[in-house]
């Protein structure tokens, strides 16, 4: 029994220790660094709130943050609205092709952010497919989709759609559709079945999908740098620049903390009503 107890402890403790060391500790280091200063590319160990004051007062950073926030909310809401009909169709009508449909959605997700952005640039860029076709047909190229916030928006949708569809799909596939039939038998119409049975019972999975798109969009750095154009700087991109070109690590760390705190608060608010057992993330459903 002693032996079994030891084995049991080891099995849970090894991954826990790994996460504490390489996930929690770095985030703590980031918080500490955000209260220090960088001068001439050197870190100075002076405790100060200056980084946060800069972030709260400098107009540019506030603009970047608000732009990121609006973008992230817009992208996530759009994604949920797009993902629901797709997941619903696959679960209800997919039949034996369900697995093929869901894999076909995941495959583009697996080829990586940079390569997918390259592919997207092949569509949207000045010499891309859309504008190439427009020019060939004698029309003027669409300025809107070249190096603009609209281009970033399309890119975010393109990048995270598979993720959100998969989470909603996981939730719906574990949903007992007999409940909807029961509501129908009791005389509810389609709209009421959806708003009072299907949607509330799958809300948890939907919120997880929302968050999985919201968080990376909020801190995105590659998309705006590549597709955003002159007025498309987002918070994450600005943060990446603090660690790259400008070398002001402490300020960048403060931006990282702001992003992290904001994601955590959003997560806390949204997960208030979440019952994880309903998300379809299995292993939680059996209790």
């Amino acid at each position: 029994m002693q032996d079994a107890n030891l084995q049991r402890r080891l099995i849970l403790n090894i991954p826990t220790a790994f996460l504490l060391l390489f996930f929690v500790l770095p985030l703590t280091a980031l918080v500490v660094l955000s209260f220090w200063q960088t001068e001439n590319y050197k870190i100075v160990h002076d405790w100060t709130l200056m980084n946060y004051t800069t972030l709260a007062t400098e107009g540019a950073y506030i603009t970047f943050f608000l732009r990121s926030l609006v973008m992230a909310v817009g992208v996530s809401v759009t994604l949920v609205a797009l993902a629901w009909p797709i997941a619903y169709f696959i679960v209800r009508y997919g039949g034996r092709y369900r697995i093929i449909f869901s894999l076909l959605l995941v495959i583009p997700f697996l080829s990586g952010e940079v390569l997918r952005l390259i592919a997207l640039q092949g569509m949207l860029g000045p010499a891309g497919l859309v504008n190439g076709a427009l020019i060939r047909m004698g029309a003027a190229p669409l300025r809107m989709i070249m190096y603009s916030n609209a281009a970033s928006f399309i890119a975010f949708i393109y990048l995270y759609l598979p993720l959100v569809v998969t989470t909603v799909y996981l939730s719906l596939i574990n949903f007992d559709f007999r409940l909807a039939h029961a509501a129908s038998a009791c005389g509810a119409n389609r709209f009421r079945i959806f708003t009072e049975v299907v949607w509330p019972l799958n809300l948890s999975g939907t919120i997880v999908g929302f968050m999985l798109a919201f968080i990376p969009t909020l801190s995105a750095s590659l998309v705006p740098r590549f597709l955003g154009g002159p007025n498309g700087t987002l918070y994450g991109m600005s943060m990446a620049q603090q660690f790259g070109e400008s070398g002001t690590w402490a300020l960048g760390a403060a931006m990282g903390v702001v992003l992290f705190l904001f994601s955590a608060v959003a997560l806390a608010i949204l997960s208030y009503g979440v019952d994880l057992r309903r998300t379809g993330f299995t292993g939680l459903g059996r209790q």
């Binding site: 849970l12 991954p15 996930f23 169709f89 009508y93 292993g283």
Partner: protein, 266 residues
Amino acid sequence: MSPSFTDSLIKWTLAAFLALVFAFLYMPIVHILFASLSTRPNFPYPPEFNVASYVRLSTNTVYQSAFLNSLLLASCTAVLSTVLGFLATVGVLRFAGKRALIYAIFFAAPLFVSEILLGISSMALYYMLFELQGNMLTAIIANAVHCFSFCFLIMAAMLYKYDWRMNEAAIVCGASPLRSFFEVMLPITWPGIMGSLITAFVLSLNGLDVSFYLLGATPTMPSVAWGALRYGVKPELYALSSLINIIVFAMIIALLVAIRLKRKAV
């Protein structure tokens, strides 16, 4: 309107929408496949078949070393995160008892921290503690943190219906715990383990954010692609991207076929 008519109307509207979404997801991929095979990469229609950009890609030494680095990084990350994810899955499903939910949330937490934050914070930590600029090992570890959650969720999904009494039965019959793992558990759970290995491999092969901050000057595929991107997209990049897409596609098909074959055999 009869209900069955409305039903099929809804069904076909949704089907058309799904087709549109698939077109949106796959058009860029197919477009760059054509572009990589064409002598006119900007508007490669009608399609041609010209492998010049693939030849240039294979003779480019920067891409070669980047490819080897990425391969090393991705294989190590896949193994590390799958082993840890497996331990976590077994721990949560079998040993955690009442605290299963807390552990599960903790193990899934890296999913909710963006990759760039993970990369930047790890870089800051190593720099503050050891004045390290980052190397392959730190990059593997940071990537493994990110992939660990995916591995955990994939294996938990596959394993939660697993009957643990089978392990106990094997042990009662005189097998060592190690032998019961290799001869009972592994043969049954391998689709989940393979899925986790492939996902972690592909994620770390393609991830830029984490590796970018932790690898310093060591080139990997995504960082070379990113560097080249800033000086304008070249057909070689299209070729590279198409190649990776084809490899990923082949891996998924292989996994599907393997699962099919296994099911038939049982």
